[in-house]
Structure formats: C-alpha cells, structure tokens
C-alpha cells in the first residue's frame, strides 16, 4: 500500500497497526503536515445581522494550511474521491448529523457529494437543499453577509430538536449560520456545527477592516 497523498511506501511500524491490523492510509510525514487544533473559533461577522445566534456552537479539527489546501484542491477540485478516507477515522460522531448540501449540478460534475463522503462513517440526515450555484469562495465577506439565504428545507423533511450540522470548511460562518437559521425556523431548538477545517482568509480580514466596522 502507498500513501494516498505522497505515493510513498507505507510501513507497518507501530504497535497499534500490529495489534489492530489496520493501517493509516497516509504516511506519517503527510499526517504530521496537517495542523491539528481542535478549536471552537469565534466569528463576529454575523453579529448584528439576522443570523446572529442561529448556530449554538462550532467545533473544528484542523486549521487551514498549505497541505490542507493541496488536499482540498485534489479532493474537491479534481474530484479524487478516495481521499475522503484520509480524515474519515477522526470524523466519527455519535449523533446523526445534517450535512450542508452543495448545489446539485456541482455534485453531479464532481460525481460525489464531498461533505457526505468526508463524513461517510456517520448517520447522515439529509434535510437541506441548496438553491443557487454560486460558491461562497467566489464572494467576499460583505457579499456573503448580504446574500440571501441559499438553503431551503427539503420537502417533507422532519426536523429534530437537536441537530449537528456538518461541513468541510469554516471560514466566516455565514453558510453554517444560514443553514442553522433555516433549521431553527422549522422547529430545531439547538444547532451545533462541526467542521473539518477552520480558515481565516487574508482578504477577508482586510475587507472587514476596510468595510464593515466590527
């Protein structure tokens, strides 16, 4: 077996790999290149807007760095489906969770739904649908905040009281909050968010300093 990310020969060289029989699908240096933080980032971009307080809590596993960028480039951009295995061991949650949907066409283009696959070991509850094809990454912060809510409830969906919302990347928190707001409108009492990566893009920071006073 070879490392999924760098193609180097994988070795069985830990006791856990001997006693459990299972091996990591990524070599040690690739694994170490990701920056594990386990944080609950605070974003104040949504303060003062109608989205404030929609999301009750948020938890992220990693912070964004160049190897994470490469990873997402290959996984999401080039559609290398097997890479969903890289983090699947860590992303095991106890409760059923609601993935943030992507626009149907882009899922179709990629041939898989990246958030669903990333959290593939979990009990997924599909409650939401995305109505626009515009990507958040193509917009700046002001645009993001001012945009109308792109999500709507799937017809006939039963919304439980406590919900775990999952996504791949957490930047400004607008997407998560928008989805949470929809769910809360339809009867959810608590919405907690879990993301793989937390990022704070530079241009967002400058934007916020220039535009909106925080």
């Amino acid at each position: 077996m070879k490392c999924l990310l760098c193609d180097r020969q994988l070795m069985r060289d830990t006791w856990s790999s001997l006693f459990t029989g299972k091996q990591d699908c990524v070599c040690k240096s690739c694994r170490a290149s990701f920056n594990k933080i386990a944080s609950s980032p605070e974003r104040r971009y949504v303060k003062g807007t109608e989205l404030e307080g929609a999301l009750d809590s948020i938890f992220c596993f990693y912070s964004y760095n160049s190897s994470m960028q490469n990873y997402f480039q290959r996984y999401k951009g080039e559609g290398d489906h097997i890479l969903h295995l890289v983090f699947s061991k860590e992303l095991r949650l106890r409760e059923p969770c609601v993935p943030i949907p992507s626009y149907q066409d882009s899922s179709f283009k990629r041939s898989f739904c990246h958030v669903d696959e990333l959290f593939c070991g979990n009990n997924l509850l599909h409650l939401l649908k995305k109505t626009t094809s515009i990507k958040q990454s193509s917009r700046n912060l002001a645009q993001r905040i001012q945009s109308s809510n792109p999500f709507e409830l799937l017809p006939g969906a039963q919304v439980p009281e406590k919900i775990v919302l999952i996504d791949d990347i957490f930047t400004t928190g607008v997407t998560m909050n928008q989805a949470a707001a929809i769910l809360k409108k339809h009867g959810a009492k608590q919405v907690h968010g879990i993301c793989l990566v937390e990022t704070l893009e530079k241009n967002d920071e400058t934007e916020t300093r220039k535009g909106i006073k925080l």
Partner: protein, 765 residues
C-alpha cells in the same frame, strides 16, 4: 500474474505469517492447544486485514506444523558402536569432552566422553577435530528423573539443538576425514577459529582473552562463571554475544572504508555480500549471528536490485527463512531474544523518536527490555533492574570503545607482532570499567525476582503487548501501568496464607525449603550436592552443579531473593555442596551449622563465600526457634561432639496444627540421643522426612513410634548406589501403615498447609 497480486496483498502483513509459523511449530512440539494461536491469527486477519492474508496465515501455520513435526529428531538407537562425524560444536572441560556429532544416518547426537589420559586431553585441545570420522563405543545414558519444571533441562537443551539424544562414549577411534566441499569449508573455518584462539591466548593478557574472543569470533570457551554471573545480574550479558548491532557496525565500517578508497557502491555491496556469510561462519553460527547476517545479506541484495520492502516484512521473511533452515532455533533463548528485540525496534518508531539523545537512548533500552521481558522471565526467572540505566551507558561503551578495541587487538594478534602496543594500558582501563560494573551490581534492588510460574508467561506476554499499545499515545500511563502491574505481582504471594515445605529432588542428597505463610520468612535446609573426589589438575572441571541447576532455579521460580536462614544439617557433600551457589546468588541473612564443623575441610568453600559476602555463620549449640505469627520452626542440635551423620541438626516445623520433622542424616545413635533429650517435643508429629535418605541404619522402631507420623517422605537419588531407601525401612513403614512418598519416584514434592490445617502434597510434573 497471480503471485504478484498475492505479494501485493501480503505487503506489510508478513509479520502475521511469522506469528502463525511460531504457533504452528509449537503445536507440533508441545501440544495441539497451540494451534488455537494459528486459528486466532488467521481469524484476526480475516476480520481486520484481508481474506487472502487469512488463508495464507492458516496455510503457513499448517505448513510449519507438519514441517516441524517432520524435523523432530528420531530418538537414538540403543547400539554399542556407531560411526559418526565430529561437528565444530565440541567442548573440553577438564577430562570431560562433550560434543555434537552427526551419525551415519545424518542425525545429530550429543556425546559425552570421559577422557582417560592427559595425553588424549592434549590431543583434543590442540587438533582440529571438525569433520573427523570417528568410531565410537557408546551406550545410552540412564534417563534421569526430573526434579521440577524450572531446573536446567538437558532434554530440552538437546531438542533445541536438534539432537535426538545423547550417548555416553567409552572409547574413540579416528577412522578418517570426511570429504566434500562443505566439510572442507567447515574444517577450514574451525582451524581458522582455532588459530585466532591460539594467537589471542598467546599474546593477550589473561583478563582480556575471553572478551576479545567472545566479541570477535563468538568463542566463549574461556568465559569464567563469576564474570558471566556478574554480567547476567547486570543485564548486559547480551553485549558479549555477537549481535545484529555488531554485524551491522562491522559492515558499516567496511562500507565507509571502501567508500573512502573510492570503490564503486555496487562493488562495495557485492563485497558485503561475500563478507557477511564468511563472518557468519567464522563467528560460529550462533542464532543471533545467523539472524543478523541474513538480515544484512537480504537487505544488501534488495538495495542492489532497488527493491523496497517494509522493514517488518523483511524481518518476518528472514525469520521464516531461518525457521525453514532449522526450526529448533525457535527454542533457543538467544534466537528468541534476538528476534524479539529487533521486532520491538521495528514497531516502536513512534516511541523512539525523541529530540533529546539521552531520552531516546533511555526509551530504546526500555522498549528493548520490555519486549524481551517474557522470554527473560521464562528462562531466567529474574529481571535485572539495574540494566535499564546501565545499558544506556554500556551499549555505546561496548559498541564504540570495547568492541573496536577488541577487533583492533585481535587483528594485531594475528599479525606477526611479538608485543601488542599499549595493551597493558587498555587492560587497566578495562579493569576500571569492570570495577564499576562490580560496584553497580552490589547496589540494592539491582535484580528483581518476581514470583513467577510458567503459566504466568502468557500473562506477561499480554501485559507487555498492552503496555506497548498504550505507550503509542500515552507513554507515562503505560509506565505507570507497568509499575502497578509489577507491584501487584510482587505483593500477591505475600497475601497467601499457605505455608509451604518443599522437598527438592536433588539426586542423592537433601534439600528442603520452608516458606512461611505470607512469605514472612524463608528457611532453606541443606542444598544438595554431588560428592567429589580429589583429582589430578588435568581432570578438574566445572562440571554439573546441583546448586546451580536445581536449587537456585527452584528458589527463583518461587520469587525468593532473600533467604532468612540457610541451615546445613551436617558437613557431608550431598547436603552442602550446593550451598556455595545459593550463598552466591541469593541474599542470605545467616548461615547455621552444627557445632564443631567450622574448620572441616569439606566446608571451607562454603565458609569462604560466606566470609566474602559478610554473612554471619553461627554454630548451633542450643535449640533455636524461628517464628512468625502463625508458624514456628525449631532447630534442634544433637548434644555432644560432632560425629558426622549422627550430629545432624533436626528441624521441627509447626504450622496450623501440623508438625513436620526433618531428621537430616540422623542414624540410630543420634536418634536415640534426640529421643532422650527432646522426646516429649517430637512426640506425635504429622509428617516426617526420613533420616539418612531412608537407610536401614536410621528410622528405628522407637523413633518412628515416638514421632508416629501420618506420612513419611524420603529424599534419595534414583538408582543410587547405596540402595536408599532401604526395603527394610519401607516394610517397616508399611507395617505401621504409614504411606511413603519418595523424591526418587515423584521428583520434587511440595507440602502445602492451609490455615484450616489441610495438608496437600503436590508434585511438579
């Protein structure tokens, strides 16, 4: 191609095949119960790895089961004359020659020969006997009753060398030389070894000879017992065995030198390929050398052909190869230790990566020691604690100072130099190191003797595995777990309320161990031994030591490291000869002997050791009582002048309402004296150990009637020449309806006494 697919599936999984092979071999030799291990591993592979691997592990398990069954040596035939070829495994000890020979059918046999003349001893010592065809007059030795499972077992030793049995040789006649290229090579190698040996003995100071030979050509014939015991106690004896590190270092040095001489890398690799097997043969082919050389050989081949194989696969592959060549390696401690240590390194990459040199050196020794812990406990029943910090210093010292010097001076000794430069300076430097070693061996808590029995072996294996598993993420939790486990293990027998009196089978002789309830005290009465007769200097040999092969392993297996009282009933060799070894290897608080024997010649060796270790020696004049809360042991001296057997100290142990009388070698006269003096006290005991091994001169009607035991125990050697126990005594016991238990029939007998007073007799088969 299907085999390529299989190879791919097997990648990183060879280690499971190796595991299945181990269980396969043991299920063939020990019991089919071990085959559960094969099934377990293949089920595990089916569950966690893949179906192909699961099937292959099962196949390998079955394969090695049948292969090792096929390789089991045939028992030797009972003939009077055999034709055999001498191998290089020949050892001369005084006038005793022991060797492995190949019989005409190709079977290996162990021979033991008592040489008749000084002339012949010289012949054996000086000539190269490898590959000589011999005609031997032989007889099968009488089988010996085993004493207990922890003694040195000659049968297991022979089996682990692939020999079907042993012959006692009465005459040797040389018939000729074996031919063929293989024998020529073997002859040449052993004459080269002999040449190196002679040169070193000639030119190197005595104190350094053994070390030089051991480290360069794996020759341990000059090793003396004292220093070997010291190294074992310090846990550094592995440094004197040529190991993987050794071979790796040597090849590394050769590689660097050839590189400096601007050879092409490929040529260097090829020369390594040639040199490694040469060194393997030269160094005598001990299992650790075979392992290391093969590993380096295969690794070099892979480098040449640019094939990349994960280290665990390489290791497991080499393991399977060596097992195919000689499955009995699996039973040799050296092989077990060697592979376990390397395996632990391969799987501990996560644990060994530390920034600080000292921390990683420390973890390296900890990992290595933990991995070999089950094997060490199984074979030696004790663990050197001092070895942990000591190895951190000793390994680099040996690798980078002592070993290079040994090679350097041994190399010089082979050249025509009369005098080796500066060797006396090196000798005194080495002497200083030796002095420091001795100092650290005398530190308290240098050695831990856990109360282990062999069934605990499995628990240790699991325990160690758990620790390794935990240590991947939480090193300190693992260490804490380990310490707590050790503490529990140590304390458990101290909660045991049973009293135990063990009558050890020491051949013709006596040795009894009394363990108090809750292990409050340990009393050892007599230590067995073999009577020795004075000899010519050329006949002197280290020989078979009852103390070292039976008594000390037994004590250690019970977790005993301190003996409160060692009592010698009288001065005869069959009671006292082993005392020397017990005094040397255990912490003895006091030594008690009968009055008037301190100056006897038989006892001088023992007294000397006691003096050296500052153990107080007391002559027993009046009865002495050793007691704890629930048990009482009284030592009763025979009044009057010392008269040999008749002055044996009698021991009475009272515990939970049971009274046990141990009557030493007391004969008629002594029994009479005892009855007159202490008759009232000896009355109505429950168990007696018959006086003088059950000879007809002891155990008089009067003695037996007074003591009136329920059970009689006798300690005598199987088929001993004195005819002990005597039939008259056995009939006398029968008439009185007293059942008799003899160590010559049952081996070691343990008497367990519960707090309720229940007595249980146990043998240790």
């Amino acid at each position: 191609m299907p085999y390529l697919v299989i190879a791919k599936k097997l990648q990183n999984n060879w280690i499971y095949l190796a595991g299945a092979a181990i269980f396969g071999c043991f299920s063939a030799w020990n019991s089919l119960f071990y085959f559960l291990g094969v099934i377990g591993i293949s089920l595990f592979c089916n569950w966690r790895v893949s179906k192909t691997v699961a099937l292959l592990t099962f196949a390998i398990g079955v394969g090695f089961y049948s292969y090792s069954l096929f390789r089991v040596p045939e028992p030797l035939e009972d003939v009077s004359r055999i034709q055999a070829t001498m191998t290089e495994h020949m050892k001369l000890d005084g006038d005793r020659l022991t060797a492995f020979v190949l019989t005409e059918t190709g079977a290996r046999a162990f021979i033991s020969y008592k040489i008749e003349s000084e002339q012949q001893v010289k012949e054996f010592a000086e000539q190269n006997w490898t590959g000589r065809k011999l005609e031997l007059e032989v007889a099968l030795p009488e089988p010996r009753q085993s004493s207990h499972p922890f003694e040195f077992s000659f049968k297991t030793y022979l089996f682990s060398k692939g020999a079907g049995g042993s012959y006692e040789v009465s005459s040797v006649r040389v018939e000729g030389e074996a031919g063929g290229p293989l024998w020529t090579l073997r002859k040449w190698m052993s004459s080269l070894r002999q040449h190196i040996h002679e040169q070193v003995v000639q030119k190197v100071p005595l104190s350094l000879q053994d070390e030089f030979l051991a480290l360069t050509i794996g020759d341990r014939t000059l090793a003396d017992d004292d220093s070997q015991r010291l190294y074992q106690k310090l846990g550094i004896s592995h440094l004197f065995a040529i190991s993987g590190l050794h071979v790796a270092l040597l090849t590394g040095v050769i590689y660097k030198i050839l590189l400096l001489l601007s050879f092409r890398r490929l040529h260097i690799y090829v020369s390594v390929l040639a040199l490694v097997p040469f060194y393997m043969f030269l160094a005598g082919g001990a299992p650790s050398i075979v392992r290391a050389s093969l590993l380096i050989f295969v690794a070099t081949l892979l480098v040449i052909f640019k094939i990349k194989i994960p280290p665990s696969d390489l290791l497991a592959g080499v393991f399977l190869l060596t097992l195919l060549y000689f499955p009995f390696y699996l039973l040799q401690p050296g092989y077990q230790l060697s592979f376990l240590a390397v395996t632990s390194f391969v799987f501990s990459t996560k644990l060994l990566r530390h920034n600080s040199f000292w921390l990683s050196a420390f973890f390296t020794t900890v990992v290595c020691q933990l991995a070999v812990l089950p094997v060490i406990l199984y074979h030696f029943q004790q663990l050197s604690i001092i070895s942990l910090p000591l190895n951190v210093v000793a390994i680099p010292l040996f690798t980078f100072v002592i070993m290079p010097f040994s090679f350097f001076y041994t190399g010089l000794a082979l050249l025509p130099f009369e005098q080796l430069p500066l060797i006396s300076n090196y000798g005194s430097f080495r002497g200083l190191i030796q002095f420091l070693f001795e100092l650290s061996a005398n530190l308290p808590f240098a050695v831990w003797t856990p109360p282990s029995t062999r069934s605990i072996f499995l628990i240790t294996v699991v325990f160690v595995c758990v620790i390794f598993y935990v240590a991947e993420k939480r090193v300190f939790l693992a260490l804490a777990l380990f310490l707590v486990g050790c503490a529990l293990w140590q304390l458990l027998p101290q909660l045991n309320e049973q009293a135990k009196i063990s009558f050890l089978y020491v051949g013709q002789g006596d040795s009894t161990v009394i363990e108090f309830p809750y292990k409050e005290q340990v009393v050892v009465i007599d230590t067995g031994g073999v009577a020795t007769f004075s000899k010519e200097p050329w006949q002197k040999r280290n020989g078979y030591e009852v103390g070292r092969s039976i008594v000390t392993p037994y004590l250690r297996s019970k977790g005993i490291s301190t003996i409160d009282v060692l009592m010698l009933t009288h001065a005869d060799a069959d009671h006292t000869e082993g005392a020397e070894e017990v005094l040397e290897e255990f912490e003895v608080r006091q030594l008690i002997i009968p009055q008037g024997i301190l100056k006897l010649e038989e006892l001088q060796d023992v007294i000397e050791v006691a003096k050296k270790k500052e153990i107080p020696v007391h002559e027993l004049i009046a009865p002495l009582e050793l007691s704890s809360t629930s048990m009482r042991v009284v030592l009763l001296p025979v009044p009057g002048v010392y008269q040999g057997n008749d002055s044996s100290i009698v021991t009475v142990a009272e515990v939970y309402g049971t009274k046990v009388v141990l009557s030493g070698d007391l004969e008629m006269e002594g029994e009479g004296k005892m009855l007159r003096q202490y008759g009232g006290y000896l009355k109505t005991s429950d168990v007696i150990k018959l006086g003088h091994h059950g000879s007809k001169t002891s155990s008089t009607e009067q003695w037996l009637d007074t003591i009136n035991p329920e059970v009689a125990i006798g300690s005598a050697g199987e088929n001993n020449r004195y005819g002990h126990p005597h039939t008259i005594i056995l009939e006398r016991l029968k008439a009185k309806d007293i059942p008799y238990l003899g160590t010559h029939e049952l081996g070691t007998i343990e008497l367990l006494i519960d707090s309720s007073g229940t007595r249980t007799f146990k043998t240790l088969e």
